[in-house]
Point group: C2
Chain length 384, copies 2
Amino acid sequence: MIYLDNGATTLYKPDSVIDAVVNAMRTQGNASRGAHGATLSASRTVYDARVKIAKLFNFDTPSNVIFTCNSTEALNIAINGVIKSGDRVVSTDTEHNSVLRPLYHLQKVKNIDLQFVKADNSGLLNISDFEKLIDDKTKVVVVNHISNLTGNVNDIKRISEIVHNKNAILIVDGSQSAGTRNVDVKELGIDIYCFTGHKGLYGPQGTGGLLVKDGIEIDAWKRGGSGVKTYEEEQPHEYPTRLEAGTLNSHGIAGLSAAIDFLNETGVDNIEKKELELTKYFYNEVTKIDGIKVYGDFSWAGVDTPLGHAAIVSLNVKDYDSGEVSDALSNDFGIATRPGAHCAPRLHIALGTKHQGAVRFSFSYFTTYEELDAAINALKEIAS
Amino acid sequence: MIYLDNGATTLYKPDSVIDAVVNAMRTQGNASRGAHGATLSASRTVYDARVKIAKLFNFDTPSNVIFTCNSTEALNIAINGVIKSGDRVVSTDTEHNSVLRPLYHLQKVKNIDLQFVKADNSGLLNISDFEKLIDDKTKVVVVNHISNLTGNVNDIKRISEIVHNKNAILIVDGSQSAGTRNVDVKELGIDIYCFTGHKGLYGPQGTGGLLVKDGIEIDAWKRGGSGVKTYEEEQPHEYPTRLEAGTLNSHGIAGLSAAIDFLNETGVDNIEKKELELTKYFYNEVTKIDGIKVYGDFSWAGVDTPLGHAAIVSLNVKDYDSGEVSDALSNDFGIATRPGAHCAPRLHIALGTKHQGAVRFSFSYFTTYEELDAAINALKEIAS
């Protein structure tokens, strides 16, 4: 199988990641529960992972690295934990349902004033629209770093300046950016950065988290055992315990920790550069094929760009149903892609693909040009 | 190391569980996202696990087997999802903070009328107290199957009859019972059964879930991508999607599925029988040592009992701090136990161990009599 669905989950994990999970399953107890060797080993693994993640994102406070089971949980914690009744909240048309559905729910139950920056038919957001929508009453802005559907990159630094000029809080959905590019949360001015472990970070499923800038208060989400302050009726106040009730997935976190070692050894810059080249090559070849329409902003494909683009190319072939094209790619050519709606309903509407969906090709550092050529040739056959 | 902290997490996982996780990490895509081989493989793994779990607990509806990252999340989902403002709720002194803290929180924010069945100084609950406290106004009863501190087993079948006579809903915390005994949710009359994967089920950390009896409505918890019904603003209504936003931990679930195969091959009856014998032996030996006080109900230790007991023996040595005893066991004898408060604050108060805590010894199917003898001899040395 040629796996081109890395935007859903990276399938090829470094061996060191798998080895770390195996080792953890053989040796680790329950993190932060007691003080014998096995539990201390788990605690150390978790603590080391917090430190490594903080360093990867140039984040100062390892104790504010909160582990969750995926980025959806991280986003639910952030969105529900900072937005209060009646708050004015700004988000965008390019968001995933992991942002949209929590916000729609708060519209119903907390009567929030929810506004969306509109996307154009390339899925692009206009910075001046942020300036118009974010006003003195705005409390929270939620925006993705990279669209999971188009691969477009949002200019978080400029958005952050607008947000902070109005003293609002910026929550960034980093599901597609963590590991695929250098994310410096200080330089970008991110207050809460939500990430998943199993995509660009090359870690196991069941891992993810959020970085909470010092001073940002997020209400507890789950409540339960914490290994500390047993007699307090409230979930303990300090991070990370406030947001981490119950047994942590120290097996998965051990894998995530090894994955970050892999990223550091490989160099995230090198990963980004390679993925950008793969994407440019694929984009330039498929747009030569009659009947193929690519979505998103690829104006950069001919020139360099400071923001770059994720290793995602979503397209359609003529008016063919995207599910049928993806099935043909899988069944006839052994190529794995993802069709249909990509949990990004507002963006599909902006792109005009609500009914057709789109076939998403998404690459990783392990994708080869031979695999891309196979996909390009398959698309030529399907289109002809 | 002699690992006697299986109540926190079982450390020795069957090789087949580890192999299944490795295989999943090498082959599985993102469950329920698309239709190529890797994603279908993940989807099948998850579906098979739902079916196996349903069968293990004699539960009729695999689609109502909901996966979470641990039992704390399952309990938070159940407790927050069924209890409404002003509801009368009955729980017990023997609960873990994963039950107590969510309930205390609802007392504050939903003004629930929260009542507790009292535990005696053996940690026992009196069934007649359930009859007194559960009245026509009671909406929800939350009770553990087995105490994580004493190992006492609650008579869920009788409690269920009382609960259902008053048309209330019974939520059971099965963190210590899943896998350590046959749990037949139909026979026991459980409406919502919450379990963790990494203890008696011998699965990986990062897994767990809840079984929701057909007809019981639980509000959505996390909201986000579901792979279906992208254009609905609400989290899709049907189980399991209603309660499972975001990417599932299909790597961990693959391990959990293999763990259930191990349980079926070994026989949960055999596991329970072996653990009961280990526990009886340990109890009888340590109670011969001067200065050792064991907590919980061991009246069964001389005779058979229909309810049995979990493989948990919590004790103190004279008036020694439990942390110091546990440290001595670990440092001087290489024996892993858990001291202190066990996230069960009301029960420690009932037992009179709020300040001393207790040293918990907890066994698994893989514990040997040689390991127990080493622990018994170590306790003799410490006590003398």
